[in-house]
């Protein structure tokens, strides 16, 4: 099994890719998944996280087959409304 890590919006552009598939061994939390994909870069304070499309926190558990996502604050709705 594996864990899929996805990036959106400005983070996607900065990471230079849409997703990374990680071997799930040794990955226990969202923070650990971030470390695997970002190396030395600390988890940005305002970054949002989701596990299987539900909002999650840095210490949320990640299991085999899960989809983890990182993205900047959301800006839906009307244009600056």
């Amino acid at each position: 099994m594996a864990i899929t890590v996805r990036f959106f919006a400005s983070l996607r552009e900065r990471m230079g890719c849409e997703q990374v598939v990680l071997d799930s061994q040794d990955i226990g939390t969202v923070a650990a998944a971030w470390e695997r994909v970002a190396g030395d870069e600390a988890l940005p304070a305002n970054l949002l996280m989701a596990v299987n499309m539900e909002y999650a926190k840095a210490d949320s558990v990640v299991r085999d087959g899960d989809e983890v996502a990182f993205f900047p604050p959301v800006t839906g709705g009307g244009h600056a409304c």
Binding site: A50, M53, A69, F71, P72, V74, G76, G78, H79
Partner: protein, 143 residues
């Protein structure tokens, strides 16, 4: 209840007319109050001219959370019906970005529910906007 993410432009008034026409006999004549909010693409933002906007989203997660928000509103205000349509992709000034509507027996419930729908959508639905300005592109940050 209709919750939709649209890839192409849409006419909010036609959507409302169509949706209301499709309401079942059980709902017809049972609502006295409808509150609607339409968010439209502007041609300016933070002092800059904006030519087009690119709306990105997280497919499936968006729909999942819009549904949740709609169901919460129906439960909290005893609504007759709810509609949410949100645009994604490339958008031009004057085009509709979002449409939310709440049908209720009384106006207080309709207004509060529509406000809840758009406020929660902005807080929780995974959409991101990138503006194309004459001087280049920029991601819109939430205030």
């Amino acid at each position: 209840m209709l919750v939709e993410v649209r890839g192409g432009s849409f006419d909010p008034w036609r959507e409302l007319a169509d949706f209301q026409r499709r309401m079942t006999g059980e709902k017809r004549g049972k609502y006295g109050a409808t509150s609607i909010f339409v968010g439209t693409m502007r041609d300016f933002n933070q002092g800059n001219d904006v030519r087009t906007m690119l709306l990105e989203h997280y497919p499936q997660m968006t729909e999942k959370h819009l549904h949740k928000i709609a169901i919460e509103a129906v439960a909290r205000w005893d609504l007759r019906d709810v509609l949410i349509i949100h645009r994604v992709g490339k958008i031009a000034p004057d085009e509709t970005i979002v449409l939310v509507a709440a049908w209720a027996a009384h106006r207080a419930a309709a207004f509060e529910a529509a406000r809840y729908l758009i406020d929660e959508l902005k807080l929780r639905a995974p959409f991101w906007k990138k503006e194309c300005l004459p001087q280049g592109e920029r991601w819109v940050s939430s205030e």
